[in-house]
Every structure is written in structure tokens, then in C-alpha cells.
């Protein structure tokens, strides 16, 4: 599904990603871990198409199609979803209206008419119940005055609404208490299928107890320095990242 080959990316002439190789197949969950500043969030942004980052070398393709020339919205239309570490506040635009716009724009791009209002409401009801989101919450301005946990839950609600092929969860666990973490993780697990894939970016092993990955990769200084199965995450939890850093130097 997703194929990243020798990806180099920079921002303002500073190299951040220095040769990433990653292949994600349908139905798989990959975790990307690593210390602060290793390039995790940059990798997520580059896949989603943030223009600030310059791709210097290498390629990203989704189902065989090169993404390089595509704007972020076009990537979204092709099924890429990024759950943001810091979702943006949009005063005056309710969660519901925002979702309507997002879904109908994606439908338009696929040559479909707007989703009928009753169908939209049904979908919103269904997905918000799945994430235990209060109805009142949906008429509030997007992310405005939301707690950290509410923002993250809202991100996963959006993911549920958009039904992406490839979802990237960027530090979705940060700012969540244990109950919120469980709800969010349950939501993500319900969205797992043999046809879609998920990349979980996290600093800690905690989230991976709930969203169990098939593969774990360790990112350090812009490169994947170690890959393994879920046991690798536990090892990292035990030994910390210094062990990886030293090993890399050796």
C-alpha cells in the first residue's frame, strides 16, 4: 500500500529525514518510535504532503502512485489521513459542519454528489457513539476550548468519518489519561481491517498495549535504525533510547 524509498527531506535547508525505507501492506499496523527530534512528526507531515518540507531524494507512493506532485487535499482524497499531534482550533466552524465539508469535498474529488443530509447525520451519530462523544460536543467550534483529550478523540472521530486507507496517528496518546486512551484505542481498533493500514507514531510503549502493532521501527537521526515486532517496543521501554543511540554509533 505505502512504499517509502530512500526518503530524504529537509526544512529550511536543515536535513531531517536522511534515507527512510518503509513498506506498509494492507491490514498492517506499524509503530514508529524514537526519541524527540528524531524526525517522527516530520515523516508523518511529509507523507501527508506538508509543503514546508522539501523532499530532496527518494519517493513515497501509495498503491503504486507517486505522491510527490500531490497537494495535501489530493492525498486525503486518495485515502491518507493524519491525526495531528496538535489539532488546530477553528472558531465559528462546528465539528459537524467541518466534517460535512471535508467529506463532501472528498466525494466531489471522486466525482460523487454531496452525501444526503440524513445519511450524513446517521454516520455522524454512529461514529460519535463509537468514540463516546457527547452530541453537544459536535455543535461546538472545532477544537476551540477542547481539552487535550477531547482534541485527540475528535481526531479519531474524524478518522472514523473519513474511513482512510492509510491512517497516521501522530502522538495520539500524548495528553490522554488512561480512560481516554482506552476509548481512543478501541475506536482505532474498530477501524482496523484487512484493507487499511495504520502507522502509529509514539514516544512511549503505552499506546501499543492497546493498539498492538505488527511491526515496530525505531527512528533515530532521520533514519530507521532498527525494526522488529512488538517485543522491540517493550525492549525500548526497558532500556530507553540511549541503547539504540549507542548501538548506532557502534
Amino acid at each position: 500500500m505505502l512504499e517509502i524509498k530512500n526518503l530524504h527531506a529537509s526544512v529550511e535547508e536543515k536535513d531531517i529525514l536522511k534515507g527512510i525505507n518503509l513498506e506498509v501492506k494492507p491490514g498492517e499496523v506499524h509503530a514508529i518510535m524514537g526519541p524527540n527530534g528524531s524526525g517522527k512528526s516530520t515523516l508523518a507531515s511529509v507523507i501527508a504532503g506538508k509543503e514546508e518540507f522539501e523532499v530532496e531524494k527518494g519517493s513515497i507512493s501509495l498503491n503504486g502512485e507517486d505522491l510527490e506532485e500531490l497537494a495535501p487535499e489530493e492525498r486525503a482524497h486518495k485515502g491518507i489521513f493524519l491525526s495531528f499531534q496538535y489539532p488546530v482550533e477553528i472558531p465559528g466552524v462546528s465539528v459537524t459542519n467541518f466534517m460535512k465539508t471535508a467529506i463532501n469535498e472528498s466525494r466531489k474529488a471522486r466525482g460523487l454528489d454531496d452525501m444526503p443530509a440524513n445519511q450524513m447525520l446517521k454516520l455522524i451519530r454512529e461514529k460519535s457513539e463509537m468514540l463516546e462523544i457527547d452530541r453537544k460536543f459536535l455543535s461546538r467550534s472545532l477544537n476551540e476550548g477542547f481539552s487535550g483529550g477531547e482534541k485527540k478523540r475528535n481526531e479519531i472521530f474524524q478518522m472514523a468519518m473519513m474511513e482512510p486507507k492509510l491512517a497516521i496517528l501522530d502522538e495520539t496518546d500524548s495528553g490522554l489519561d488512561i480512560d481516554a486512551l482506552r476509548i481512543v484505542a478501541n475506536g482505532v481498533n474498530k477501524l482496523r481491517s484487512k484493507d487499511n493500514a495504520i502507522i502509529v507514531i509514539t514516544h512511549y510503549q503505552r499506546l501499543l498495549e492497546y493498539i498492538v502493532p505488527d511491526f515496530v521501527h525505531v527512528l533515530h537521526d532521520g533514519k530507521i535504525v532498527k525494526s522488529g515486532t512488538k517485543e522491540l517496543a517493550l525492549e525500548l521501554e526497558d532500556k530507553g533510547y540511549d541503547w539504540i543511540k549507542q548501538e548506532t554509533v557502534v
Binding site: 501527508a48 509543503e51 497537494a71 466552524v93 459542519n97
Partner: protein, 438 residues
């Protein structure tokens, strides 16, 4: 002949048509003398540093339209807030249109200034209020005073509330190659009275129009006045709007100015607080493109203790448009416990757009809260990326962000249909249709 000379010579013709025994004649004569001395403001004056009236003065404006014109309601319906029932005071090329208007004398007076200035039953009110808060030395105001004859007259007696909001609409039809209009409005809300007014100037052709408007608003004790200015005019229409507000104890006056269109707009909005525990609210949304120019000059004069003022102006400037915000706040020495808040935020969408923003605080009391802030920035790239990553194309995402940026100014609009209408104009101005009504 330049415009000033033309106006001075027209004044004689103007006076020949009005009653010379009327006390207002004195006021007008005094005013034209002041204008003669001062002339049009120039860029040398601090208050007019960024706004030039030079090119307007070169246009050969007709001062009095030669023939009356009529309009069919169905052709101009869209310029009214027609979704709700309202009183209407409508002028076509400066002349009152009874056909398009709906006035009343049922408990309140919603009618014409020309009637109020000439009929004996209004004399007492005119003597007390007319030209009492408008400046007697600001040149464009004195020019308007000299030619003051027609406009809206709204008088809400003690404890009364009109049954519905009032719309004041000025159309120009292009009957003249270039037309100058000088409407004059007088609005009085007596003790505990309440009124909501929407004002609009609308040119219907490409012919040049220059409107120099003066509005005086008096809010007595416990009165509540909402005034909405919708400035979405043709690209050949220029407007200098001078609004003067006198407030007394416990009154609340809110003025919202929505500037989306026109060639040159200058808003002089002046609040004079004379009493305690009152609130003055000044809000504005400005969205410009092309070479449009909007200049907001606000003044709030706190002259008594325990009062508040809230100013919030948002501006979005594209293409080669230029904006000015100058917010002056005066707090007199006795005006302790004043709480004055001023905010001006701007987004520049192009390298060639300009905004000049300046807070001007003159505080002589020591126990006051005065906060002010102005920002100039570009669109938040992270926010744009967030929306795009949800499948919303860049253009629509940009519009949503601008809408979000300006949105809180709309919160204090108390006529829901007007709020909706403004949202629609914003969406049109930004050139988008998002998947829901903004």
C-alpha cells in the same frame, strides 16, 4: 472648477430652496463658513495621513440630481435585509422614495429629517439634538451640516421599542455621470428605549458616487442602540461616514461596520460617553481586494467613571488593497475605573497589500484598565495544512480560516438574519461555497 469651489457656489442655490427663517439656516451658514476656511482634509493632517481625497476632488460631481429616478422593488430587493419585516427609509439619488419606504409614527417616529427640520411639532427635539454631537470644525462634517436637509429621522420616546428593526438605504442610479450625496441622519433613543438600525449605501451603476454622510446618535439613560453599517458597494463608490454618538448613564451602544466593497471608505466613528456605567461597542470586519481602500478612525472619549468600551476590528487584505485602523481612546482624569479594550487584527494575503494600524491612548486617570493590541500576519500555514489534510482544497481552506479569523466579531450581531446575510457576503467576497452556510 474644483469640488470645493463648486460646493461653495452650490450652497447659495441650496439655501434658496430652503426656509431662511428656520433656525437650522444659522447652523448651515456657520458650517459652510467653517468648511470654506478648512477645505477638504489633506494628507498633511495626521488624521488623513493614509487617505487621500485628491482624486475625488477632481471629479465633476453633480451636487443636486437633476431628475428623479424610480426603482422597482424586485430589482433592488437583494440589497435589503428582506428575510425579516423591517421599517425602511429609502432614498434614490438623495431623494426620498415613499414607494420603497415603510415609515411609522406609531408610538415612535421613523421618518424623514426633512420633515423633522421643517414641521413645528419636531422643533423642540431638533433644538435639543440637531448638530449637538457632530463636530463643528471637522471639515467634512461641517460640509455635510451645511447641506443637511435629508436623511433618516428616528425618535424613540422613553421606554419604547419599535416593533421591528429599521433599514436606511441610499441608492444611487447613475442618472448623473458623477453624483455627490450628503445624507444626514438623526437618531434619538430616549430613556430606556431600544432600537436596531441597519444602514447601507448602494450604487447601482459604474458611475462615480461620493457620499459624505453624517449620523448623530443620542442614547439617553438605560437606552440600547444597535447600529449596523453594511459597506459592500460598487467599485466606483466612495464613502466618508461620520458617526457621532452621545451616551448617558447605563446606556449601551453597539456599532458594527462591515466593509467589503467600495473604492474608498473612510469611517470616522466617535463615541462620547457622558455618564456612568455605560458600554460602547465598536466592531468591524474588513475584507478587501483590488485597489480598495478602507480607513477606520475610531474615537472613544471616556469622560465619567465606571464605564467600558470594547473595540474589535478584523481586517483581511488581498491584492493591492490598503487598510488603516486608528483607534483613539481618551480617558479623562475623573474617569476612574474605566475599562477600555481595543483589538485590531489583520491578515495580509498579498505582498502588495498594506495595513497601517495605530492605537492612540490618552489616559489621564490612574485607576483604569486599558488594553490594546494589534497584529498583522499571514495565514497560519499549520492551520491551512490541517484543513487540506482533511480533503478541503486550498482555496476553500483559506476561506474557512479567514471566516474563523473574523468570526468572533459577528457574535455580538443581534439580528440572526443579518448575521446570516453577512456570512453570505463574506463567502461571496472570498469566492467560495463551502459545504454549509457560513
Amino acid at each position: 472648477m474644483d469640488l470645493k469651489d463648486k460646493l461653495l457656489s452650490s450652497f447659495i442655490a441650496f439655501e434658496n430652496n430652503v426656509d431662511l427663517d428656520n433656525p437650522v439656516h444659522e447652523v448651515r451658514s456657520e458650517a459652510i463658513k467653517n468648511f470654506e476656511v478648512k477645505g477638504f482634509p489633506t494628507k498633511k493632517e495626521e488624521a488623513w495621513k493614509y487617505t487621500s481625497l485628491n482624486s475625488l476632488q477632481k471629479v465633476d460631481f453633480s451636487i443636486f440630481p437633476k431628475q428623479e429616478n424610480t426603482l422597482e422593488y424586485k430589482n433592488v430587493k437583494k440589497y435589503f435585509l428582506h428575510e425579516i419585516d423591517t421599517y425602511k427609509i429609502v432614498f434614490i439619488d438623495g431623494v426620498y422614495s415613499s414607494y420603497l419606504s415603510e415609515t411609522t409614527h406609531d408610538g415612535v417616529d421613523v421618518c424623514l429629517l426633512s420633515a423633522a427640520l421643517t414641521k413645528p411639532q419636531y422643533k423642540q427635539v431638533i433644538d435639543v439634538y440637531f448638530n449637538q454631537v457632530a463636530s463643528r470644525d471637522e471639515s467634512l462634517t461641517t460640509l455635510n451640516t451645511a447641506f443637511s436637509r435629508e436623511g433618516a429621522y428616528i425618535y424613540i420616546p422613553k421606554g419604547k421599542v419599535p416593533k421591528k428593526p429599521i433599514q436606511i438605504v441610499h441608492f444611487s442610479t447613475g442618472n448623473e455621470a458623477a453624483l455627490m450625496l450628503q445624507p444626514r441622519n438623526l437618531i434619538i433613543a430616549e430613556e430606556n428605549a431600544e432600537v436596531q438600525i441597519i444602514e447601507r449605501h448602494q450604487s447601482l451603476t459604474e458611475n462615480e458616487v461620493f457620499t459624505n454622510c453624517v449620523t448623530e446618535i443620542f442614547a439617553a439613560k438605560d437606552a440600547n442602540v444597535d447600529y449596523y453599517k453594511v459597506q459592500n458597494d460598487a467599485k466606483t463608490a466612495s464613502l466618508v461616514d461620520n458617526t457621532y454618538i452621545a451616551q448617558k448613564d447605563n446606556s449601551v451602544v453597539r456599532v458594527h461596520t462591515f466593509s467589503f466593497g467600495g473604492k474608498l471608505i473612510r469611517n470616522n466613528l466617535n463615541f462620547y460617553q457622558n455618564g456612568e456605567h455605560m458600554d460602547s461597542v465598536l466592531k468591524g470586519i474588513t475584507i478587501l481586494g483590488d485597489k480598495q481602500h478602507v480607513d477606520h478612525h475610531t474615537l472613544v472619549h471616556h469622560a465619567q467613571p465606571n464605564c467600558e468600551s470594547h473595540q474589535d476590528y478584523k481586517g483581511i487584505f488581498g491584492d493591492k488593497s490598503t487598510g488603516v485602523f486608528n483607534g483613539k481612546i481618551i480617558v479623562d482624569q475623573i474617569a476612574q475605573k474605566t475599562n477600555a479594550f481595543q483589538q485590531n487584527n489583520n491578515i495580509l494575503l498579498s505582498d502588495k497589500a498594506t495595513i497601517n494600524t495605530k492605537p492612540q491612548l490618552e489616559i489621564f486617570a490612574d485607576d483604569v484598565k486599558c488594553s490594546h493590541g494589534c497584529t498583522i500576519g499571514q495565514l497560519d500555514e499549520d492551520a491551512l495544512f490541517y484543513l487540506q489534510s482533511r480533503g478541503i482544497p486550498k482555496k476553500e481552506a483559506t476561506a474557512l480560516l479567514m471566516y474563523a479569523f473574523a468570526n468572533n466579531v459577528l457574535e455580538s450581531v443581534r439580528i440572526p438574519e443579518l448575521k446570516k446575510r453577512i456570512n453570505k457576503i463574506i463567502a461571496n467576497t472570498l469566492g467560495v461555497r463551502v459545504g454549509f452556510d457560513l
